[in-house]
Symmetry: D2
Subunit: 314 residues, 4 copies
Amino acid sequence: MTTAVATGMQELLEELVVAHRPRGPVGSVPASIPHLGRVEPTSFGIAVATVGGDVYAAGDSDVPFSIQSISKVFSLALALRQDSANTLWRRVLREPSGTAFNSLVQLEAESGIPRNPFINAGALVVTDVLQEQRGDARGQVLAFVQALSGSSEPAIDGAAAAGELERSSRNLALANFLADFGNLRCDVRQVVEHYVGHCSITMSCRDLARAGTFLADGGRVGPWAGEPWSALTAEQTRRINSIMLTCGLYDAAGEFAYRVGLPGKSGVGGGIMAVAPGRGTVCVWSPGLDAKGNSVAGAAALADLSSHLGWSVF
Amino acid sequence: MTTAVATGMQELLEELVVAHRPRGPVGSVPASIPHLGRVEPTSFGIAVATVGGDVYAAGDSDVPFSIQSISKVFSLALALRQDSANTLWRRVLREPSGTAFNSLVQLEAESGIPRNPFINAGALVVTDVLQEQRGDARGQVLAFVQALSGSSEPAIDGAAAAGELERSSRNLALANFLADFGNLRCDVRQVVEHYVGHCSITMSCRDLARAGTFLADGGRVGPWAGEPWSALTAEQTRRINSIMLTCGLYDAAGEFAYRVGLPGKSGVGGGIMAVAPGRGTVCVWSPGLDAKGNSVAGAAALADLSSHLGWSVF
Amino acid sequence: MTTAVATGMQELLEELVVAHRPRGPVGSVPASIPHLGRVEPTSFGIAVATVGGDVYAAGDSDVPFSIQSISKVFSLALALRQDSANTLWRRVLREPSGTAFNSLVQLEAESGIPRNPFINAGALVVTDVLQEQRGDARGQVLAFVQALSGSSEPAIDGAAAAGELERSSRNLALANFLADFGNLRCDVRQVVEHYVGHCSITMSCRDLARAGTFLADGGRVGPWAGEPWSALTAEQTRRINSIMLTCGLYDAAGEFAYRVGLPGKSGVGGGIMAVAPGRGTVCVWSPGLDAKGNSVAGAAALADLSSHLGWSVF
Amino acid sequence: MTTAVATGMQELLEELVVAHRPRGPVGSVPASIPHLGRVEPTSFGIAVATVGGDVYAAGDSDVPFSIQSISKVFSLALALRQDSANTLWRRVLREPSGTAFNSLVQLEAESGIPRNPFINAGALVVTDVLQEQRGDARGQVLAFVQALSGSSEPAIDGAAAAGELERSSRNLALANFLADFGNLRCDVRQVVEHYVGHCSITMSCRDLARAGTFLADGGRVGPWAGEPWSALTAEQTRRINSIMLTCGLYDAAGEFAYRVGLPGKSGVGGGIMAVAPGRGTVCVWSPGLDAKGNSVAGAAALADLSSHLGWSVF
């Protein structure tokens, strides 16, 4: 990458911070997760990590935040990586859900097989798979994102996890329901605990962007992850990207596909990770959420970035 | 009651035993409750307790069996009796459910308010109310049926309850779901335990018929229950009877209303209790179930009895 | 019936008129059926026809009103009467629906077999059966209620029917959906026309009460219907009564069963017909509806009447 | 394009024909559309039209077939093109449906607003919009595909349309249901007729590929469409592509996104049109369908083609 381009990217990110950092509270923060309400509402960070190994960052890009559902991408990748018996896709489908992300109706209609790994039911099954594969699902996911980002900073926010666990009735309902259909095999309470645990991982935009570049590069990790290795095969990477594009933004997947045109995954912590295949991975963070649970400023900034760079796949 | 009538009733019950006792296994027993599978499949008992204080019984009428969902009638009656603040009907509706008895769909659509107290979700709420009112819901229901039947024989089958608790994923899902909507207030696991506990009460047909006569007599208990007292007001009794008639037989309430024409409540243990207002209460038991979860021989015998005596309310 | 009793009944009805006739508009009238909005809101009529052949009436008991869904009872009775091949119950179930009366969801889930003959889908199937049996379903139902009431006054309000037909998109949707499942066999549009037609029959409380006594008397019609004949067998009558009790009041069947304790059928024209088996049939009419679509004043008056006479079956 | 590349593409298509043309009947053909059953089961055609104006074709690429739901792409594009008041997106959403393509449940839950323009309900609304805009929706769509492909061969198969109309109960149900919610404004029967009409357009792979290149080229039509013009803006094109990717393959959108990695739209006539943004448009046709309603051989061939050319967007 020439200096000119590098400068261009850095300038673009700085401009996006100026354009999109909220001047005050926007949207809402989830009432059910108290610690998320304590974040400074004008926070805004953005980082791009390219497949060439460059990292650009601006705004609050080094502030750790709760990655929440973005952890579903990494837990899925890890479960696939370890799925030597190739059984994961028998326990969770890969189709858009078309309903609120935590609905039980679909699950009942389809005999306990979640529509995709990004709705809560699907992510609980993936966590159960990790727990079955090697135990300590939460710890596995943490070690994985640390390795992928070449950083020891990603950590589990224990107090946050404990607070969320107390408000996990819906997830406990889902998990028991899955167990009733035989699609949860480890201890139900433990699976929910580990699920909430890996959702409570805190990471900065910079580290998340670095951790996600394998999705933009056919499975190959970035230079920050040590000696070259592949987290997944190119085929597995395509699989995850296609699921992100069709199911990654809760009930706004279609809208995001249009506005941003990239596979993405959001979390109610205000983060969004987007993948530009062959180019790099972007992470943006700002805590105020829209009615569908996605970062207001984050989605707008990604749309701008994608438009400026011509990165939309459409 | 004249001797002639008494003889007539006794003879009728004997004839019903001859006509309806299965010659071998009929229907099915619930796979999810192992101890129910160990019951002798040709068991058949029947008892009638009149508002006049007479009791007639035939067949295996003194054999204790698992009353299962029939306990929902007694836990509801007890919760109403103790509902001085009159809040129960804000937490559970009184309308037919029109879906399988353990569906989560309706609950989601109606924000955690179960359609009636006889579907599992509703019975869990009732158990939660008892637990809130005086603690030890299971023990309260047991003491209540002992008092109503004037018998110390009703007991909780601890081993059966423990076995069912292990297979209670669906009920734990329901209970956590209710808790998520704020409609379960005590500890979720404890509520399910007490719910399974009072479903595991064992009683004979004779004791169940005696315990249920207050429903046929405007709330007044039978002479076997000691000094005259009223378990409920006449109005509360009518309320329970109307719910039994519209919702007491799972997804076969309409069919039972037609064939038997009496308020009734069945359990997957093979028991059915039916109430003939102003006349008396009938209990029949035979373990083989039809596809809807109701005793095959029991429902047939009740239809015969109702027809012979002209007891149908229609 | 002694004069004393007769006087008692007549006085009771007069008192009910005084107590329940609205002083002004109460509840609502259906926006989708314009002609119903033109009825005087303080209208209130009541009539009782006994199995002994006496008729008592008070208030606006001779004013014809639109019977709307009450016609479903008569079309069902007629279809059963003519169902020599005994195929009706293969095409419609007899269980409570537990959802709004015009929902398509249940129909889709259960492959086009309506839950009961009183939800719109079920009534369309019954109309199709009549149309198949002898053609001119609308005319058949009219002739039937004229014969049952011994009156030539029941008539089809053609202008009202035409107005309703124009707003029948939902019924056309239901009918086409049933046809798609093979459960509607005559011309779809014609079936809806005849359905709307028999719902647009106008009758007075007096005539409706007289027409309905066969349901209280094992199928036998009243003396006003000419030479003694039976509209249905006693068994068929019980069948209809049990369906009325579990499904006759839209989504308030449970509440009505408790408050009134009698099989009943309401219509959005403000009429309610209730059956006291062995005693007689009551018809009450007042146009203001509650949120569930049942006459506010009518339901209250029936509860009072049932309570005064001790007619509740519970 | 150099001759070498051209040769490469042509050879690839020839190889795909050899590899994927069925040797006999595979999958199924829709029972509800009789004329589709008369197509030769071993038919297989494929064509690619590039944004540079080249067209490659192999197999039965000049045989006209029933485009069925692929017409939904063109009717949507045309409605958008003419939507000067910008009201279309108030009447139909743009999110994946996650249920069978003709379900009524979602529609009821969301008050008559279809989830996206490619499920039948959504396509009926789009047809209604066309009918409102300029009348003769069917004729408009036909003229549009003729103009886009620069060919007069696309035609409406009147006999097929008439046959389908006779079996359109489900679509009539949907359309009446939409009308009931006020989301269908023209005559219901006429809308269904025009909808079935434009679904009955027959086109060859070659013409379809040519007609679809505007989607790969920011809205610009190919040279075969006469003087340069734009069918849509680049933004509108991206919108349609993102909807195709998330909703274009019925309930297999996720699977197709993974296997092929391109926006696509299938029809039960066995055709699939796929768009490679910036490159070109592919059309493949083979009549045997899988359980989700997509061409078995067609989807396999597209996966191969995408893989060989590296055209997946992921």
